[in-house]
């Protein structure tokens, strides 16, 4: 498995809608185009929300997984 180099981490664990998305939108502006950010969230709604956010903004959802109630999203800046 290829090693993923993440430039920025967002810890949105314990936060409800819309803060995981809001924090991600703010964080992705701090990385260069093509770079990756990793988001951790516990909001179950974020699974659908990150898909919608990625589709609308054009920032690619590279990876998503769940581990013990913590959702992990890796996104690439457009």
């Amino acid at each position: 498995m290829a090693v993923i180099e993440v430039s920025q981490h967002v810890d949105a664990r314990g936060l409800s809608c819309p803060m995981p998305i809001v924090k991600t939108a703010q964080a992705i502006k701090t990385v260069a185009s093509g770079e990756l950010i990793e988001v951790l969230a516990t909001d179950a709604g974020s699974v659908k929300d990150f898909g919608a956010w990625s589709k609308t903004t054009g920032n690619e959802l590279v990876e998503q997984s769940v581990d013990g109630g913590v959702y992990r999203f890796v996104l690439r800046r457009k």
Partner: protein, 192 residues
């Protein structure tokens, strides 16, 4: 003597001939994606739950790269008065209005189950427990992400509100024509 072949009169053969010529209807060519739309929230109510909804949608709009504007009018104007301001207005009637409804984003009442402030207090406790950002936090995030808050000039006049009594970073006061203009241009309107 030539023999002419009689024309085909077999109905089945005829049906096959028609069917052979039949072409499947082609799907319409993919429509051009519509131009990105702006979001325009008309925030009329100053009730806690509706202010909350407005600010959640506004921050999310901005986070999704959608140009988001909020038209701040009527009861909602008091939400954008500084929290520290207790009484606003010039005349006794305007002052009495602000006395009856305390200004500021942190002093909102619920439209139902307010119970002299018990309802909003319980809401606050629940929000904290479940990691829901408060209206004040959402307002700050919205401003940081470039949501434009446009106060209604007419209501400001009627309530005797001065621009310096409002929070920092408010947009220019506007009127209904600006709102209608935005709606007919490129904005999805929401009335809350």
């Amino acid at each position: 003597m030539t023999t002419e072949t009689p024309p085909i009169v077999d109905p089945i053969a005829e049906a096959i001939a028609i069917a052979d010529k039949w072409t499947e209807p082609q799907p319409a060519p993919e429509a051009e994606p519509a131009a990105a739309k702006d979001l325009l929230i008309i925030d009329y109510s100053g009730d806690l739950e509706k202010v909350w909804a407005t600010l959640i949608l506004a921050t999310t709009g901005a986070a999704m790269g959608v140009k988001t504007r909020v038209f701040v009018t009527f009861w909602d104007l008091q939400v954008f008065v500084k929290d520290s301001k207790r009484i606003t207005g010039e005349t006794w009637m305007q002052k009495a209005m602000s006395f009856m409804q305390r200004p500021g984003v942190s002093h909102r009442k619920l439209s139902k189950m307010n119970f002299m402030g018990m309802g909003p207090w319980m809401m606050g406790v629940l929000a904290k427990k479940y990691g829901v950002a408060s209206p004040k936090e959402l307002l700050e995030a919205a401003q940081a992400m470039g949501v434009e808050f446009m106060p209604c000039q007419m209501t400001m006049d009627m309530f005797g509100l001065k621009p310096e009594e409002m929070i920092e970073g408010m947009g220019e006061p506007v009127g209904a024509a600006t709102v209608i203009g935005l709606m007919t241009e490129n904005s999805v309107p929401l009335f809350i």
